[in-house]
Amino acid sequence: MSASEMPSAPSSQDAAPPRPTWQVVLVRPETMTFLLLIAGVFAGSQLSPFFLDVAYILRSFTLYSEFAIVALVLTMVIIAGEIDLSPAANMALSACIFAWMQQAGVPIPLAIGIGLLSGLAMGALNAIFVIGLQLPSIIVTIGTLTLYRGLAQVIAGDKSIRVPEWFIGIDKVMIGGIPLPVVAFILLAIVLGFVLSGTIFGRQIYQIGTNEVAARHAGIRTARIKTGLFLGIGLVAAIAGIVTASRLGSVRYDLGLGGELQMVLMAMLGGTYIFGGRGTILGTFLAAWLLVIVSTGMIVANVLPAVQLVVLGVLLIVSIVATNFIYSRTQR
């Protein structure tokens, strides 16, 4: 199969000398995210005496945990060279379907099951357009984000649907002093981190994102893997939506409104390369904490929202510039 040799493979330059180990370890986007995280904790503790309280920070993290959980899967989608902007709308629609079902008398476990299935179906619809019809994922998911949000409004109207009292408060369930959604986020990060960096499946995701044509010629089932990723993010978004319903105690069509930007922000802050092929779960994991630390630190210090937006914007631009700089320097 000599046809599978891509012309870009042999470099016209002489091979560069191997980089020293300290560079390989330190000059990485995740390192920068980690340093920003440390700086954020320090700045937060200087801004307000009420900030440095582990219980408070964990409680604040639960407010972002649903987005953070989806952002982990989104990282894999972006590494595979695609994007999904519909998960926040998916969260709303799944949660509305779940809440509507249980209100109509369907037992809760069944209603949860139907909610998760609908999330899966939304992921499948994205996959049909992106993989089946070969349409750009950014356009498709902007469309489906509007569609899913609209359907949620059709189901729930302008009113909110209540969930039963016993179902409320998943964020108050503590495991070893850590709220359950945060535990779920940490566990999912460990599992997905292992899948992405330690399995053949993970390496194939990177290869698809680096060069999809080459990956296909190398015998990687790109369509199947990408479909799997879209189904996965659909399912996880539905889980996140139902977790949000439990945290808020009620469901409206505007649940998680604007969340897609937070998710993309987490992936970008963590050094995931928007054009695919690069990024790690560790980066997104750290970035989620960074976002929570920075937002919480500023909110508890009563910093003006305008200043908060400026700080978050600067953080994002710094991280994108740094990510691109680091990747261009370390390109082999």
């Binding site: 009420f50 105690g249 009620s250 505007d254 508890v300 929202p305």
Partner: protein
């Protein structure tokens, strides 16, 4: 772990010190719907002046956007800061239930100011609203009647078809027109909806003028609608034929009043809401006021305030009418 216990120790020490100083000022925070809203500057002014006079610490915070859940991190932060009173203009009637319960559980007094948790009143201690909204419809009809000699065709230019406040007022207007013989010669010919958008409101206003050549008055019970209607009347120079009135902001309507386009319009004083909230909160905390339905108390400048059903208080019995004589006394 060491750090955490150190922090707890510090916190305990701090608590003992503050406990010893009985004169520690009461901390009050008001959480607005969103920043950049001049309406809230006026409410905040009332809070500030009252706190200055009575001796308490006041801060205003608000999220950048008025989404249903955007206030949650701000409430969490105020709980963490250990404030004594949270005043809030809620962005959602029920998404804040859980976090407000957490605040109440910490002994924080929770007041909704300028908007209530309709249907979820048990999640706050009391509410402060500008006026008894059942009076708004009759007040508006009386003002309109006085402008046109209680005779002729009138129309209503409202916000959206679903706006709950406006719909309550419009229903009351219809009721008043039908039942009070004083208004027997006034005919409501149309109710149209400008969706609180300047362009749509302008279009609807022009359509009203085209369809009803004998129209004597337009009531726009929404700040966007009344400004758009006044703009149309001003540019056509028909102020002597069609009277525009409704609910508006003095700051937006000042020029129309000065050049005679609008003779009079109504609203309440947002300033007084902040003023009342501080007096009520401090009275509750020092025991001079009991938060029980039917109780009354005196507030400087406002007279006797009665705690109505569902622990609701109004700053004024009737709407304030603004005209050429008093428009310069108001700056919101």
């Amino acid at each position: 772990m060491l750090k955490k216990s150190l922090l707890i120790g510090l916190a305990a020490g701090f608590a003992m010190v503050t406990g010893a100083l009985a004169a520690d000022p009461i901390k009050i925070v008001y959480i607005g719907k969103n920043t950049g809203n001049p309406y809230f500057d006026s409410i905040t002014g009332g809070f500030e002046d009252a706190c200055e006079k009575l001796g308490c610490e006041f801060e205003f915070v608000a999220p950048a956007t008025a989404e249903a859940t955007s206030q949650i991190p701000f409430i969490e932060a105020q709980i963490q800061r250990g404030v004594n009173v949270i005043g809030i203009a809620p962005n959602s009637p029920d998404a804040l239930n859980q976090v407000l319960d957490a605040a109440k559980a910490k002994g924080i007094l929770v007041l909704t100011v300028n908007g209530d948790l309709v249907g979820n009143e048990s999640h706050r201690d009391a509410t402060i609203l500008p006026v008894d909204f059942t009076k708004t419809g009759p007040n508006q009809i009386e003002l309109t009647g006085s402008l046109i000699g209680y005779e002729g065709e009138i129309a209503i230019l409202s916000a959206t078809t679903e706006a709950p406040d406006q719909n309550t007022w419009i229903a009351a207007m219809n009721e008043t027109l039908k039942n009070d013989p004083k208004y027997a010669k006034m005919t409501l010919v149309a109710t149209v909806y400008g969706d609180d958008q300047p362009e749509k409101s302008t279009t609807e206003m022009e359509a009203l003028l085209a369809n009803y050549p004998n129209l004597k008055a337009v009531i726009a019970p929404t700040t966007v609608g009344i400004a758009a209607a006044a703009q149309v009347v001003q540019s056509r120079g028909i102020a002597d034929k069609v009277a525009v009135t409704g609910l508006g902001l003095p700051s937006e309507m000042r020029d129309f009043i000065k050049d005679g386009t609008v003779k009079a319009f109504q609203l309440w004083s947002p300033y007084n809401e902040g003023w009342l909230a501080v007096h009520f909160a401090l009275g509750l905390l020092d025991g001079s006021i009991k938060n029980e339905v039917g109780n009354t108390f005196e507030v400087e400048n406002l007279g006797t305030i009665k705690i109505e059903e569902k622990n609701a208080m109004n700053t004024q019995a009737e709407l304030t009418t603004f005209d050429i004589n008093n428009i310069d006394d108001f700056n919101f």
